[in-house]
């Protein structure tokens, strides 16, 4: 039972990280129907910025909690800036192009960013300082769940709640929902669509950066390539839940996290990714619109 619980919570942690990345995918897709392939790279850049800032601050001799806070803040700011810039450079000029063009531009952007970090930093795995403190009250449960995992799950929950509030109750959230429903109509009623798209990229990138710092601190290793596989997994999660739907992305992430955890825990760790992709293929075959997605009839 304890083994089961451990795996269950491990899956929840994994799912939380996927959810933080998947949000960006699903929000961007909801608004401009683009698979933002460079999103995984933004997560990676967030983690790298976090690492660099954290290392400097640790050398200066700040308290680990302050280091974590400041490094996360820097990661969020930089990731958001990158998301914003990428949209302006690689996607905005293609807004009226055929459907394949932005996707290929996104693949190009992703390759570019990977190699940019590879050349400017290093191709080696860098050790990431463990910034999340060990809580004493967690000691009795330490064999089931670590403090870092608790922090990850709680942070994700807080981010989700904030995001829901933003989208449900603020003006920009309303504008985002309107743009997602019908971009032209939103423009007609005076929504600044370009601004909405920029904000979407910024928010999505920021949440991905939070995920990046948390997971890097938990796993303790990063390199320039972590974004690719995490991005694909998170996209899988977003599609599982029904792309374009925010609760769907979260649910899909947890389903994916549990699938991987249980597959590794009970079957074999070699095929972790195979299970993830097989799940994706199965879901898409039997329920192409995802778990929570709505199927829309195509009109002529």
């Amino acid at each position: 039972m304890e083994y089961f619980l451990e795996i269950f919570l491990g899956g929840l942690t994994r799912g939380s990280i996927y959810a933080l990345i998947a949000l960006g995918y699903t929000m961007v897709y909801g608004i401009i129907e683009l698979i933002n392939f460079a999103h995984g790279e933004i997560y990676m850049i967030g983690a790298f910025t976090g690492l660099i800032i954290a290392s400097i601050l640790t050398l200066v001799g700040l308290h680990p909690v302050a280091v974590l806070a400041l490094a996360s803040l820097a990661a969020v700011i930089y990731a958001a800036a990158y998301g914003f810039t990428i949209e302006k450079v690689a996607y905005k000029p293609l807004r009226h192009a055929q459907r394949l063009s932005p996707l290929i531009s996104a693949i190009g952007m992703s390759i570019f960013l990977q190699n940019y970090v590879l050349l400017a930093q290093t191709s080696d795995f860098l050790p990431f300082p463990n910034l999340i403190p060990e809580f004493e009250f967690m000691d009795p449960y330490a064999h089931i769940i670590g403090s870092a995992e608790i922090v990850i799950i709680l942070t994700t929950a807080v981010v989700m709640v904030l995001l829901t509030i933003l989208i449900k109750f603020t003006k920009i959230g309303k504008a985002m929902r309107a743009t997602a429903q019908d971009r032209n109509m939103a423009m007609l009623v005076g929504v600044n669509v370009n601004q909405v798209i920029s904000v979407t990229f910024i928010i999505g990138s920021a949440t991905a950066a939070i995920g990046g710092v948390l997971i890097a601190s938990h796993v303790g290793m990063i390199n320039f390539y972590i974004g690719f596989i995490a991005g694909i997994k998170a996209f899988t999660a977003a599609v599982l839940g029904g792309i374009g739907s925010i609760p769907g992305a979260v649910l899909g992430s947890f389903v994916l996290g549990w699938t991987e955890s249980f597959a590794t825990g009970y079957v074999s760790s070699d095929y972790e990714d195979v299970f993830a992709f097989a799940l994706l293929v199965l879901i898409l075959i039997f329920r192409p619109e995802g778990i929570l997605g709505r199927s829309t009839a195509q009109k002529v």
């Binding site: 698979i35 850049i45 790298f48 910025t49 690492l51 660099i52 800032i53 290392s55 400097i56 050398l59 820097a74 930089y78 800036a81 990158y82 810039t85 690689a90 000029p93 293609l94 192009a97 055929q98 459907r99 394949l100 063009s101 932005p102 996707l103 290929i104 531009s105 693949i107 190009g108 952007m109 992703s110 390759i111 570019f112 960013l113 990977q114 190699n115 940019y116 970090v117 050349l119 400017a120 930093q121 290093t122 860098l126 050790p127 690719f228 694909i232 996209f235 899988t236 599609v239 095929y271 990714d273 195979v274 992709f277 994706l280 293929v281 898409l284 075959i285 192409p288 195509q298 002529v300």
Partner: protein, 411 residues
């Protein structure tokens, strides 16, 4: 173009990029010795570079907008390349010269050069195969490399276990790849474009991961070595002869592919693919079987990948899963897009540019992938139709100039 506001804009852009690239480009932390390296000269480079590039970027965007306006007024002329091909006086000597070059090439250059050329030719075949799927049928396949892997492993394993030769393995590998294409195609072709892209990507990764982990079957990451090169009626060949021989096989293969794809394009099936790409619903209304048409595109594309794989295995004599990553799929897709989606000649040019250029530009070696990524973005932004755009065959209605008929007098 160098007004004050332009300079101000560029200055802002350059400041923004200096801010953006600050942590990654300027700071490098050595976590083992705990020293921080500050590389301020990088910041100056970024600032200057982005200042100049922002001018160029704006100029290019303006030109693109102007071009679009011109296209809207209806004045379009054939691209330069099509005019050259259309002109027999230029194209016939060109073709003859090119053929002589192809035949003389392996004897005039070193084995190393011939090997690179063979690689480029393999990519042409792969690109043309993917062109059927992406360019003609409009199905974005990001896991194309899976079929390439299937072809390569079919040859390697069949040879290892049953001692099958190259010439037997070539059609068998193609057949297995085609079968895989159909197997994958059946469930996923109902999906819309983006979903299809991600599922094929997943499929490609699954194949690679299985090859990597299923040691009893595929010998895992260590791969399979000692795959024989193609034979010629049991003749013993020296290494350099074998390379030249493989080069000519590849030339033949490329010509065959170009011929088949060219014929397919203007066939009933090819037109069905293009129609499907343009509008699925209208196409179905015209009585085209969607599933069957898509499946043929998928499996035909896979067939070429399978053959490419067999030849690749024979060329390198060693394969392992590391040769079949997503980057490879991205590479093949990029050369199709770079060359011009749907255009045969474009794919050829695209492969030469993408495969040969990095080989001859060893100096930019480590920047190769960086430039590659940025080229994809720039191509999509400024020239989405590719280097050599596909020109659809058009029929013009021309009145016959026969004087005296009522038709002519009515003009």
């Amino acid at each position: 173009m160098f007004t004050l506001s332009d300079i101000k804009k560029s200055l802002l852009v350059s400041l923004w990029f200096m801010f953006l690239t600050f942590p990654i480009m300027v700071i490098r932390v050595n976590t083992i010795e705990n020293v921080i390296e500050w590389r301020w000269n990088n910041m100056i480079l970024v600032g200057l570079g982005s200042f100049i590039l922002s001018f160029l970027w704006r100029y290019m965007i303006e030109r693109k907008e102007a071009g679009r306006k011109k296209a809207e007024t209806g004045v379009t002329e054939l691209p330069l390349f099509q005019r050259i091909v259309g002109n027999r006086r230029l194209s016939v000597p060109g073709m003859i010269g090119f053929s002589i070059f192809i035949i003389v090439f392996p004897f005039a250059f070193s084995s190393y050069q011939v090997n690179i050329m063979t690689t480029a030719l393999i990519y042409i075949v792969l690109g043309l195969g993917l062109n059927i799927v992406v360019g003609l049928a409009g199905l974005l396949d990001l896991g194309y490399v899976a079929f390439y892997a299937v072809g390569a492993y079919s040859y390697a394993l069949l040879n290892y276990h049953y001692g099958l030769g190259f010439w037997v393995a070539l059609p068998v590998g193609a057949g297995i790849a085609a079968l895989m294409g159909i197997l994958l195609g059946f469930p996923v072709l109902r999906l819309r474009g983006d979903y299809l892209a991600i599922v094929t990507l997943g499929f490609g990764e699954i194949i690679r991961l299985i090859l990597e982990n299923y040691n009893d079957f595929s010998f895992g990451p260590s791969g399979i070595a000692n795959i024989p090169r193609p034979g010629f009626f049991g003749m013993e060949m020296s290494l350099s002869t074998a390379i030249i021989y493989l080069y000519f096989i590849m030339i033949g293969m490329t010509l065959l592919t170009v011929f088949v794809v060219g014929r397919l394009e203007n066939s009933r099936l090819g037109r069905a693919w293009i129609a499907l790409r343009e509008d699925e619903i209208a196409c179905q209304a015209m009585g085209i079987d969607k599933t069957k048409t898509k499946l043929t595109a998928f499996s035909l594309g896979a067939t070429w990948a399978g053959m490419g794989g067999v030849i690749f295995a024979a060329k390198t004599t060693f394969i392992n899963p590391a040769s079949f990553t997503f980057m490879e799929s991205a590479m093949i897709l990029s050369l199709v897009v770079l060359g011009g989606m749907g255009s045969i000649f474009g794919v050829i040019v695209g492969s030469f540019v993408l495969i040969l250029l990095p080989e001859y530009l060893r100096g930019v070696g480590e920047y190769r992938m960086l430039l590659f990524g940025i080229t994809l973005v720039i191509m999509m932004v400024f020239r989405p139709q590719g280097l050599i755009a596909k020109v659809r065959r058009t029929y013009k209605f021309e009145r016959e100039e026969v004087s005296g008929t009522p038709e002519a007098s009515r003009q």
